[in-house]
Amino acid sequence: MAEGELKYLIFLGCAIPYRVSAYEISARRVMEKLGVKLEEMPEFNCCGLPMDPISHKMMLLLAVRNLCMAEEKNMNIMALCPGCSGTLNKVNIVLKNDKKLREEINEYLKVDGLESKGTIEVKHLIQVLNDDVGIEKIRAAVKKPLRGLKVAEHNGCHVLRPKEYTGFDDPEDPKVLKALIEATGAECLDYMDEAQCCGAPTAGVNDKIPLQLSREKLMHIRDVDARVLITICPFCHMMFETNQMRIERMFNEKFGIPTLHYPQLLGLALGLSPQELALGELRVKPTEQLRQVGI
């Protein structure tokens, strides 16, 4: 690897290739623009998170298989989904610190000729942007500052919690995504209960609570007059974007808050076109907001 060259294995997870391609498209375009090299995982499977409630051991095995693939390539993982980055990072740290558990897991992996050595790291996209690329470099790369655009952010739980394993931002007062948003020239507004969950993880067992939670967040965002919402998680995006009109109908509300994946916002500021960033996939169109910033 050349001096100063940033290079990662991109971990897509399952939800993004299943139905949130715009996040992947925009993230790849933006990273290319910033000179970050992305390589494909040689092989990957579910990160393990969805199986944790059923079998903690199954979760560990699914996660560790992915870690082994990256170890074989001797490259760090960058995940787009906080569920994936959170799970892989946590398992990676747990196994680095718990020799006995590592031996137990490696015993299982033998049937497959794999071994976990704990030689890599796992990061989420915003951690790579903030810690490795750096805010200064991003700011310098901005060609079309989004001045005058008022936005709100929603981090998503697993990028921040549990803090014992994440540690790169304060879950009670998260600042990293805000700083990344402000690097684009947009203004990032504070609002009530910013770090609260969108509700997506309960969607499989309850059809009301997740929508109530997302509605409440959209209300708080509307209250401060933010015109755009920014997410960094495919599941949060589905709750706020894909489901927004359903929430409006269900609760007889009007939000009309376009919800962009962070790399879509950053991409616009870097001078990429809405087409290149797959903005057409959004259901709540940001037409008026983009016109306001001259796009």
């Binding site: 969805p50 903690h56 199954m58 095995l61 558990l101 803090k163 499989g204």
Partner: protein, 179 residues
Amino acid sequence: MLEAKETGQKTVLKITDPRFKYEISKIPGAENIMLCFQCGTCTSDCPVARFSGAYHPRRIIRMTQLGLKERVLESETLWLCASCFTCTDRCPQDVKVADIIRVLKNLAVKEGHVPPVFKTLASSILDTGYAYRIPEMRIKKRGELGLPPLPKSNPQSLAKLTERIEFKKLLEVKGEQDG
């Protein structure tokens, strides 16, 4: 099975397993169950509890401490936890509430309580390696969108691994399809 019945003014709790808390505290993630002093920080900060009359993490922890094993493991509310980890991060006693709830869910599964959505996810993982059955069309369309091919998964290798932990048996997902 009912563990509590109203007898006039008194509620009689049916303790089904007084050793439950000791059993639980030996499982990684639930070691601190005895440290809970019922302050209620978990419930008051729980996003799900704001909209659910039934889901209260504090209550789940107390019922576990009391040994109301059947009631805890049969409870559908156990599955409402969104695993946002707010309770874990804010607990003044470092009880790791979300991990304890995960441990309880794992035990509930062993007793045969598995919400259908998890059977669907598990069968997809076992068959395809991914949590969702990504349609062939979407995988093919990646090229048109300017995306590289989706990296392959390895269900055969996963099958070998999961066989050793008897995962399939746990769920009896064999042959089950998306609902």
